[in-house]
């Protein structure tokens, strides 16, 4: 299972690698990381359909997570990748916006990794 994580915080990569070290070691999940919306789109262009799940931060300089969501959902419609939004601002506006743009799930930081693992396993 390929998961693309999009966040402007670079240590998110280390964190995910640590949190999912067993899954990575057991090759249950493959992680790819992008540090901005633009990078994420580049990755998707190069690795079409490789990422089945995209985890994206919302608040990023430049292209925001919501914009990225919109683009992904519009561009890659057959079949659209699963996009889960991660944000520090768990407010209604962001939630509604994300939902209307076609976000598959909405998680607030700090990430509850146990919960996240459960969700990933269910996909």
């Amino acid at each position: 299972m390929n998961i693309l994580v999009v966040d402007d915080e670079k240590d998110v990569k280390t964190l995910f690698e640590q949190r999912f070290r067993k899954e990575i070691r057991d090759h249950e999940i493959d992680f790819a990381f992008a540090f901005s919306g633009e990078e994420a789109l580049d990755y998707l262009n190069q690795h079409l359909h490789q990422a089945v799940l995209i985890l994206s931060d919302i608040n990023m300089p430049g292209m925001s997570g919501l914009e990225l969501l919109d683009r992904i959902k519009k561009k890659y419609d057959t079949p659209p990748p699963i996009v889960m939004m991660l944000t520090a601002y768990g407010d209604a506006d962001n939630f509604n916006m994300a939902k209307s743009l076609g976000a598959d799930d909405f998680l607030t930081k700090p990430v509850d990794f146990t919960n996240l693992k459960e969700k990933i396993k269910n996909f």
Binding site: E9, D11, T14, L15, Q18, R19, R21, N59, P61, G62, M63, S64, L66, E67, A88, Y89, D91, D93, N94, M97, K109, P110, V111, F113
Partner: protein
């Protein structure tokens, strides 16, 4: 012809009387004469109240003065009584004053011997240094000689008195002295001198507002004019004098005015006027106890009656006149009275009866014959009387007498006429010179006055201007002071307000940042929490591996744990920095300069700014780019201050892009770029946006305090202003380039050194 001559005779007759009367009058001059019953009454009351002897005597002296103006006999009686009192207590002033008064009052009543007694006594009695009294005695002698017709002596005494009085400026006596000496001159036909002194008297009395004396001076001037033959002027003066005298109730002046006017009208043969005036004068004279003038006035009245052919009344008045004249003991008056009687008889053609009266008349003045026309006429009448009664020898004698006298008269007359002419000439000349001088003086005075007035006007104007200016200046100064105080207090208020505003601006921008800061702190804290969680798990795993003996695996885990610990440490520090920065930011600017990495500062604040904006407006997103010049040297600045500048510029940049986004299509991509660059000895920090741009017209206002384009309440308007100040205090510059609708670039340049 005869009538005419008779008239002239009468006129000529009277100058003697005039002289006599005026001299008497002028004596009174020196005494404030205006007896009124209320005044006498009040003096009597005052006397009754007074117990002190000398004070009482002094009051009596005043009373005698008053009485002398109206009742000479009463004045003499009172004077004698008080003289006794004064001598009893040996009161020097009382003795001198009362004896002087007695002397003069005796002179008025023709009692020269008693007058002389007093004067001789006073001459020895008066203290040598008592100039006032001494001059008074001299004047009294002068008056007495004047009354007696010895004018040279009179003038001599008066001139001595005047000399003293002018020296001691005795303005009380001087008017009288002037007037009386002028009588002497008048009698010696020295009219210019007479007028000269009268003029002095008039000027002085007018100046001192001595109305009774002024009235008398006018009377005497009238007499002088009368003597010159200027009847018109004389009448004018008499009338003026009488008018004034009536107003101030000066009986004696009125008396002589009437008397002398009667004489003038006698010359004009206006008989009814002569009679009226004569009777008036006689009545006043009787009231005043002046027998001499009473007799003379009755003589005139009688004469006017005779010429109106009212012989019975005329004879009766003449008889009374003779009786009175007799008791007056004034030879000229007696002579005149007999002459009038003689004339009355002559006109009735009672020539033989007239002869003894004429003879008697001449006989009385034999010792001091007056060679005037009156005498000439009388001799002619007498001659005619003798002629008609058949005594031709006597007629011829008397006619011869008249011719002789006429001859000498003519010479005298010629002299007089010459004097008159020369005097008139002199007088005119003097007047003209005086006039010319006056004109010159006037013109000088006028021009002086004009100059003075102009000067004064200018001065006043200047003074007014100066005053106005002064007032205005004062006002202005006051206003300025008030304004200064106001401004100072306003300034102080402003300063404190500014300090508050700066603080609130800081707090406001901090508020804006709160969300960003929260986010910024949240992220490291999440990392700290997550990595510590992971480490706990990993350490448990490591324990398992060790217990299994898989030391390699355990080692690998331990490496990860160490790496994670570093992460924890890093993010802990990061949060710490953010909190510290936040505190620094809110703190008042007392920051010290320190070596600062501008690149780090930019990155830190760009994130704070971005997240702040994001937190506020969820719908807005903008991309930001940082173009960092890695070779940028660290510089010495107050980091939180420069951070504030960067923050302000970034906030504005994000704000303007968000504003533009509201009006733009979807294709608009908001972007804010922060660039650092080294250029020569400067560091440039550029904050560039593609927002709305700054309209040209407000571009020069953006650095002004409180200028803001944000809606009310949204911005303090201090951001750029404070930024400008901060940059200035760092010896740097802040520049702006902007195109409306395209975007703005702020460039901050800071010196490296």
């Amino acid at each position: 012809m005869i009538h005419n001559k008779q008239a002239q005779c009468s006129v000529r007759f009277y100058p003697a009387e005039i002289a006599l009367l005026t001299i008497i009058l002028l004596f009174l001059f020196s005494k404030g004469v205006n007896a009124q019953n209320p005044q006498i009454d009040s003096i009597n009351r005052l006397i009754a109240k007074t117990t002190d002897d000398t004070t009482r005597i002094n009051i009596y002296i005043d009373k005698v003065n008053l009485l002398a103006g109206s009742d000479l006999n009463a004045a003499i009686t009172v004077g004698k009584e008080q003289l006794l009192q004064s001598e009893k207590i040996n009161y020097y002033k009382g003795i001198v004053m009362l004896r002087s008064q007695l002397a003069s009052n005796y002179i008025f009543t023709g009692n020269y011997e008693l007058a002389l007694d007093n004067l001789h006594f006073l001459e020895k009695f008066v203290k040598p240094k008592d100039s006032v009294r001494y001059s008074g005695i001299l004047a009294c002698y002068g008056m007495m000689y004047g009354v007696k017709g010895v004018y040279d002596s009179s003038i001599w005494y008066y001139s001595k008195a005047i000399e003293i009085n002018e020296r001691i400026q005795n303005n009380i006596e001087l008017p009288g002295n002037y007037a009386n000496i002028s009588i002497g001159y008048q009698q010696l036909a020295n009219y210019p001198m007479a007028l000269e002194y009268q003029q002095r008297s008039l000027t002085l009395t007018q100046k001192l507002k001595l109305k009774p004396q002024q009235a008398r001076t006018m009377l005497n001037m009238a007499i002088t004019y009368q003597n010159i033959g200027d009847t018109g002027k004389a009448i004018e003066m008499y009338e003026a004098s009488i008018q004034l005298a009536e107003k101030i109730n000066s009986r004696i002046t009125q008396l002589y005015g009437y008397s002398n006017l009667a004489t003038i009208y006698l010359g004009k043969k206006e008989w009814t006027k002569v009679y009226d005036l004569g009777i008036k004068a006689a009545e006043l004279a009787e009231k005043s106890g002046d027998i001499g003038i009473q007799a003379a006035s009755l003589s005139k009245a009688a004469q006017s009656l005779a010429f109106q052919n009212k012989f019975a009344e005329a004879t009766e008045l003449s008889k009374r006149s003779i009786a009175l004249a007799d008791s007056s003991k004034q030879p000229k008056n007696i002579s005149q009275a007999f002459q009038v009687m003689a004339t009355t008889l002559f006109l009735q053609k009672k020539y033989t009866e007239a002869i003894p009266y004429f003879e008697k008349s001449f006989q009385i003045v034999q010792a001091d014959p007056a060679f005037d026309r009156a005498i000439v006429e009388a001799y002619i009448f007498l001659s005619q009387c003798y002629e008609y009664s058949g005594n031709y020898k006597k007629a011829l004698e008397n006619y011869q007498m008249s011719v002789n006298i006429t001859d000498s008269m003519r010479r005298k007359d010629n002299i007089r006429k010459a004097t008159e002419v020369s005097m008139n000439f002199e007088f005119q000349k003097k007047q003209e010179i005086q006039k010319a001088e006056q004109v010159l003086k006037d013109s000088i005075t006028r021009s002086k006055q004009i100059a003075l007035l102009v000067g004064l006007g200018i001065f006043l104007l200047l003074a007014v201007f100066a005053f106005i200016g002064f007032k205005n200046k004062q006002k202005a100064n006051k206003l300025l002071k008030e304004q200064k105080l106001q401004i100072e207090s306003t300034l102080n208020k402003l300063k404190s307000t500014q300090a508050q505003l700066i603080q609130s601006e800081k707090m406001a921008s901090l508020g804006e940042l709160t969300a960003g800061i929260a986010h910024e702190i949240q992220n490291p804290l999440n990392f700290v929490n997550n990595f510590s969680d992971i480490n706990r798990e990993m350490l448990a795993e490591m324990k398992d591996e060790i217990s299994k003996g898989n030391m390699d695996d355990a080692n690998a885990i331990a490496d990860d744990v160490i790496a994670n610990e570093e992460k924890i440490n890093h993010h802990g520090k990061r949060a710490d920095d953010i909190v510290k920065g936040m505190l620094q930011h809110s703190r008042k600017s007392e920051g010290k300069k320190e070596i600062t990495n501008i690149n780090d500062l930019c990155e830190e604040y760009v994130r704070l700014s971005y997240h702040g904006l994001r937190a506020k407006d969820k719908n807005f997103n903008a991309s930001f780019k940082t173009h960092i010049d890695a070779t940028l040297p660290q510089i010495n600045v107050v980091p939180q201050d420069i951070g504030r500048v960067i923050l302000n510029l970034l906030n504005n940049a994000f704000y303007t892009t968000s504003e533009r986004q509201k009006i733009e299509d979807e294709g608009y991509m908001p972007i804010v770029t922060i660039t650092t660059k080294k250029e020569a000895d400067k560091i440039l920090i550029s904050v560039k946006d593609n927002g709305t741009g700054i309209p040209e017209k407000i571009r020069d206002k953006i650095f002004q305090p409180f200028f803001t384009t944000k809606p009310t309440g949204s911005g303090t308007g201090l951001g750029l202003s404070l930024s400008y100040d901060i940059v200035k205090t760092h010896d740097g510059e802040i520049k702006v380039e902007s195109n409306e609708g395209e975007g703005t670039e702020f460039i901050v340049s800071l010196p490296v050194a």
